[in-house]
């Protein structure tokens, strides 16, 4: 046990924030500003602890560090184990930064702010717990628990079609969680001790048992990723969310699936599933191409962002076919930049939609009326499509190289999907930057405020720093 239980603090801090939020004043006068301030402060505090924890972690050491154990039940004996490496800390850092950007995006909103912030912190606590979990039981608890705040968030902030969206979301996610639960029961029945995540690959259950357990784990984890033909369900959820913060949080769920895959199979697919690898690759590639093609014709920018994210998530997921422990840090850094980029884009799009709605404008050419926003939005889109403006560039290069060496055909298809989805973003960018018709021009439109501009510019600086020196805060 460490002298300072960093991991427990990281998990409990957002819950402490929830308690503070329950006490925060929320009336007509404050318009949710108190709630937002408390929530943002909590996330900032979490960020401090994450960076502190990062400074104690050796990035060259591939095993879990800062391990902490907490006994939950004596009979049956269930111990929650927390442990991290640079990869999981990077993911915790990225979800917190993305949430912070999302919070900044909703700071002018006033409807149900307190509920929104309480559920956001609850979600952050759960997802942090998931990334800290070092054993299967802890992993499952957080894997299932993070659905609860998300369900409420979508229910509260979804649009008119939210009932269908909620039904699909819950059906899809709960099926995955139930399958995982069955795995947990099987594992517990086989060996009463709680299995550590990094020992899962060595766990022996006999050929049939192993096939069942691994297949179930894969299905459960894949249920968090919008894999074809269930992608449209998740798409329905995402396109129904207009609140940027909730959109950002909802889009973090695939991350849990990818993280799970990386943790459970750090050295590539288990032997019992090797014969399925072609099928998995085919499904992954079909999903990527399918979503990218539809993104190319779909006019809804939310859908394009969703497609962009999904294609990239599946691209990272393909990393599971590699000896992931070797490339974990590359995937982590890439995801770190990716989360910042997509949350910034979502916040900036939400701002444009607000302006569009308030001034009854078309989205075509809207950026010509918002020059400051246009500059930063263009930067984010260029970073998103893969220009060397963030850590995504070098790390994606490494991943593409490793994947090309693993399977040329699959990777070529994946690259085609990445190019298509990037083109879809570029097309939308230029549609929004196109000179508007004369009757469209109005002087009343207010550009992004200086405060907002500085905030988003700072995220751009963080991205650039992640390119220039991606390892500055990590030892080793």
């Amino acid at each position: 046990m460490n002298s300072v239980p960093y991991l427990l603090i990281m998990f409990l801090l957002p819950l402490g924030g929830v308690l503070m939020l329950l006490l925060a004043q929320d009336d007509e006068k404050s318009k949710g500003r108190n709630a937002l301030s408390v929530a943002m402060l909590t996330v900032w505090a979490s960020l401090v602890f994450i960076v502190l924890a990062l400074s104690h972690v050796d990035s060259t050491y591939n095993h879990l560090q800062l391990v902490e154990q907490y006994v939950w039940l004596e009979n049956p004996k269930i111990t929650l184990t927390f442990g991290v490496d640079a990869f999981s800390l990077l993911l915790i850092l990225s979800v917190n930064v993305a949430a912070l950007i999302g919070m900044w995006g909703v700071r002018h909103f006033s409807v149900k702010m307190k509920s929104c912030m309480i559920l956001t912190l609850l979600f952050l606590s759960m997802i942090t717990g998931l990334f800290l979990a070092a054993d299967v039981m802890s992993f499952f608890i957080f894997f299932a628990a993070l659905l609860f705040p998300l369900f409420l968030l979508i229910g509260l902030f979804g649009d008119v079609k939210r009932q269908i969206a909620l039904f699909r979301f819950m059906f899809y996610s709960i099926c995955g969680a139930l399958i995982f639960f069955v795995v947990l029961v099987v594992l517990y029945n086989h060996d009463t001790a709680n299995v550590m995540l990094n020992k899962m690959a060595d766990f022996k259950l006999g050929p049939k048992g192993e096939f069942f357990v691994w297949a179930a784990i894969f299905v459960a984890l894949l249920s968090r990723i919008p894999i074809w033909p269930f992608h449209s369900w998740i798409a329905a959820v995402h396109s129904s969310i207009k609140n940027p913060l909730v959109f950002v949080l909802a889009n973090m769920t695939p991350l849990t699936g990818i993280y799970g895959l990386m943790r459970f199979v750090p050295e590539g697919l288990p032997d019992s599933l090797l014969f399925l690898s072609t099928g998995l690759e085919v499904i992954a590639v079909i999903t990527m191409l399918f979503i990218a093609l539809i993104a190319f014709i779909n006019m809804d920018f939310q859908y394009k962002i969703f497609s962009f994210m999904t294609v990239y998530y599946i691209f990272f997921m393909l990393g599971v076919f590699l000896p992931t422990s070797q490339y974990m840090l590359n995937i982590g850094f890439s995801l770190f930049a990716f989360m910042i980029i997509f949350s910034s884009i979502e916040v900036l799009v939400a701002y444009q939609e607000q302006i569009r709605h308030d001034n009854k404008l078309l989205s075509e050419g809207i950026l010509t009326l918002l020059p400051k926003l246009s500059v930063i939005f263009t930067f984010m889109i260029l970073a998103a499509v893969g220009m060397p403006l963030s850590a995504m560039f070098v790390n994606n290069f490494v991943l593409i190289a490793a994947l090309l060496a693993y399977s040329f055909g699959t990777t070529v298809c994946a690259i085609a999907a990445l190019m298509l989805v990037a083109s879809a973003l570029l097309v939308e960018l230029y549609r929004r930057k196109k000179m508007p018709k004369l009757d469209f021009v109005t002087d009343d439109v207010e550009d992004i405020s200086s405060k907002d501009f500085v905030f988003v510019s700072l995220t751009a600086v963080v991205l650039l720093l992640s390119l220039v020196n991606p390892l500055w805060f990590i030892r080793g």
């Binding site: 093609l293 490339y327 290069f397 190289a401 690259i415 570029l426 230029y430």
Partner: protein, 565 residues
């Protein structure tokens, strides 16, 4: 020394970008020009280390997976490329300081210097990662040199595809060789089973970057910007990175002769396209861009031939291109910025001095390149010189000797442009003459032929107007507005992708998933709910059914325990 100079220039550019002001723009432009000249002075005066080997080295990323070094270095093999960039930078900054073509002069001046610094990283890269990143940076900075959204759009799309293909190519090489060094390319093509794909990717990337035929539209869009910025974009951004790429990665062609032939065919097509378009297209600035396209095809062909004596000519060819574009801009400026050649004609009476300088400039180019006409592979230079003479005779014939088509008001203001316009032309001319080797043994012959005979021939041919039948093309709307390459891309790529996306969306997403799968699950759940309701209400029948199901289950478990299947 070299790294320090690049750093100084980069910082100057960055400071200009950050602190650009609307006041005293002219003075600041002058100040920047002077500062850059001061930085480059050791090289310009021939005392620098440009031709000596020097190396500055920085260990950028060092992990167990990948190690990336950034380096700046000089040596005789890089000098022609560096000189070319110096010339283009001087051309752009001097025009920027002297003239008011641009509203945002300081912004562009800052970007010119920043692009120069980025280009030095491209030229002196010795690993593929530095090459890739520096090329991308040049593209991004070039993107900010453009204002028109249509131009930006094409520029970004073409470059994005080229950069992405390059990234895939280099990732393939690194994944195979685990070595980022450019020298690893030869080992890769020897051993890798994917070498053929890699070479294919490389050829496409170079074609896009150099703006060769069918990939040139994004460069032609530059006709809407000032000719200085357009020239800079052609010779100091993307197309030039294509040339450097071609030079540095020639190893990829070993064992893949087809790729070399493919490139040669593309270069030939580009040159032909540029020649025909120069003759047929009406706009002055479009003609200048086609001239640049021709020059870039020529430079790429020179690099492909891989002859040292030709490589040394690189800066002079670019200087010639800049000088000739300066020559072409003279009538445009004189005729109150009339954008179309067809709206000029008969300017010889009012612009004798301009015509004289123009003809002498062309003759100077011929003089400079004539000594190389005896070398091995000289057909390329022969071809270029003949084509240039024919094209410029046609141009002079239309603008100076053709029938007057200009408006009376325009004709009233036509006069030789400001003397400053001749400054760069004459300076380039002087540099070419200074570096020229005499063609004939006697001074009399040299001067007599290139100052009297050749110019007289050019003027005589221009007066005859041998290609005047081509003037009809100016009146043809289809010829002037046609963009066959873009239409080809639309038909071959964009339309199929859109159609496929739409069909998939309608058939799979909407019909199969939404109408069938989702509806099936929904109906199943409703059926279960109905069954559950029925089971709770009709105890008599439901009880019997459950009992039967229970008995079947018990039997099934018993059967399983006995061995089952």
């Amino acid at each position: 020394m070299f790294a320090l100079t690049v750093l100084k220039i980069g910082v100057l550019g960055l400071l200009t970008e950050i602190f650009q002001k609307n006041r005293m723009v002219r003075s600041w432009s002058w100040f920047l020009f002077a500062a850059v000249v001061l930085c480059l002075l050791p090289w310009l005066s021939g005392q620098g280390d440009l031709f000596k080997k020097s190396l500055w080295f920085f260990n950028w990323v060092d992990t167990s997976v990948i190690k990336i070094d950034i380096a700046l270095r000089t040596g005789p093999e890089y000098a022609p490329f560096i000189w070319t960039q110096i010339i283009v930078l001087m051309f752009a900054l001097s025009y920027n300081a002297f003239f008011s073509f641009e509203k945002m002069r300081l912004r562009y001046a800052g970007l010119y210097t920043l692009i120069f610094a980025a280009m030095m990283f491209v030229i002196s890269a010795f690993n593929i990662m530095q090459l890739l990143i520096a090329i991308c940076f040049v593209d991004i900075l070039g993107f900010y040199l453009l204002q028109d959204i249509g131009v930006k759009r094409h520029y970004m799309f073409f470059n994005f595809f080229a950069d992405f293909l390059l990234m895939v190519l280099f990732a393939l090489i690194w994944g195979w060789e685990r070595n980022l060094d450019i020298s690893a390319l030869s080992a890769f093509v020897k051993h890798s089973s994917f070498a053929g794909y890699a070479v294919g990717l490389f050829v496409i990337s170079v074609c896009i970057k150099c703006g060769m035929a069918f990939f040139h539209n994004y460069l032609l869009d530059m006709k809407s910007i000032s000719f200085v910025r357009g020239g800079f974009m052609m010779f100091a951004t993307t197309p030039f990175t294509g040339l450097v790429l071609l030079y540095r990665c020639t190893n990829l062609f070993s064992g893949f002769e087809w790729a070399k032939y493919a490139l040669e065919v593309m270069l030939g097509l580009s040159a032909l396209w540029a020649i025909f378009a120069f003759v047929l297209i009406d706009a002055f600035k479009a003609k200048i861009l086609y001239l640049h396209m021709l020059m870039i095809s020529f430079l790429a062909a020179m690099i492909l031939m891989n002859k040292t004596e030709f490589l040394a000519l690189l800066p002079f060819v670019v200087m010639m291109a800049c000088m000739l574009s300066g020559v072409m801009i003279l009538p445009l400026v004189a005729a109150a910025n009339e954008p179309l050649v067809s709206k000029t004609g008969g300017l010889v009476q009012l612009m004798k001095f301009s015509l004289g300088v123009s003809v002498l400039s062309l003759s100077g180019c011929l003089y400079f390149f004539s000594p190389y006409l005896k070398n091995d592979g000289a057909w390329l230079i022969w071809l270029l010189l003949v084509v240039l003479v024919v094209l410029f005779i046609h141009f002079f014939a239309q603008v100076y000797f053709g029938d007057v088509h200009a408006d009376e008001r325009v004709m009233a203001v036509v006069k030789n442009p400001n003397v400053l316009y001749f400054g760069f032309i004459l300076a380039s001319w002087a540099v070419l003459l200074f570096h020229a080797k005499p063609v004939f043994n006697t001074e009399f012959l040299n001067w007599g032929i290139f100052v009297l005979v050749v110019p007289s021939f050019i003027l005589f041919a221009a007066k005859l107007r041998p290609l005047r039948f081509c003037d009809k093309a100016y009146a043809c709307e289809n010829v002037q507005t046609a963009a066959p390459a873009l239409k080809l891309f639309d038909v071959c790529f964009i339309l199929p992708i859109k159609t496929l996306g739409r069909v998939l969306w309608l058939t799979i997403d909407f019909l199969l998933i939404e109408r069938f799968l989702v509806a099936f699950i929904r109906q199943t759940i409703y059926s279960m709910i109905r069954f559950s309701r029925w089971a709770h209400h009709n105890i008599k029948y439901a009880g019997t059914v459950f009992m039967i199901v229970g008995v079947v289950l018990v039997w099934f478990v018993y059967w399983l325990q006995k061995g089952g299947f």
